[in-house]
Symmetry: C2
Subunit: 114 residues, 2 copies
DNA sequence: ACGATAGGTAGGAGATTCCCTACGCGTCAA
DNA sequence: TTGACGCGTAGGGAATCTCCTACCTATCGT
């Protein structure tokens, strides 16, 4: 119904690469940009960056808008909102855990396992 | 400074697989379990699942605790908290954007793309 | 029309992923 | 001790990833 898992696969896989995460950061911090401006930040040939942009596009994380002979890329944050939704059911876990842990450590000084 | 990106690579890569995400969900919803109990949920040989567990371990997403000849796996949510932290600077983006979008959709009923 | 510029696509090399079948190691029950 | 059980590791094969060097199309300036 809502998820085959395939969509999330794409988003997470897109995020599993430092270059692509840096592209997202650049688009977030510096706004929409053409490919060349992005490419200047990387030690990589432009066609390789083009493929990273393709991965990001197919994950829905960026969109392109043609402007003359340039392609202006823009951040599309919706898939990231979905990641946050996915994360949500785990939230109580690290809350409970960290809170309970510090609590525990506070009141039982005997434990000390490896 | 704080990140080479290598750690985040591992976490995102670990999450970029439906089997591994399902393992995390099982550990979250059903609590700590030995490998065999997890394996029962998948159409996959046990050694393959073992490798998925290894990936999750190396990403810090699960921990194992030996109990006799069993290995009890447990969810470790801290890397997910780090993912949420990573997500945070993007949050304002989808807030702004979705608000503007629903606004737009509300007042232009003509759209109808393929 | 011509050359330069912006950027995507083709195809290939090397690494990595994801599954498999063997097999090895430690633990429990007899 | 012998065997069965729980689980990891070795090694291999097909697919995918990530980079590269060509090369192609479209647009701009002259």
């Amino acid at each position: 119904m809502t998820t085959t898992g395939a969509r999330e696969d794409r988003v997470f896989a897109a995020l599993a690469n430092a270059t692509r995460r840096e592209v997202l950061r650049l688009l977030r911090d510096e706004g929409p940009q053409p490919v060349q401006a992005l490419a200047d930040h990387f030690d990589m040939r432009r066609p390789s960056l083009s493929e990273h942009l393709k991965v990001l596009r197919e994950a829905g994380l960026v969109s392109e808008e043609r402007s003359g002979r340039q392609r202006i890329y823009q951040l599309e944050a919706q898939p990231l909102a979905e990641v946050q939704d996915w994360l949500h059911p785990y939230e109580r876990f690290w809350r409970d855990r960290l809170k309970g842990l510090s609590d525990l450590l506070d009141r039982m000084p005997d434990d000390g396992e490896t």
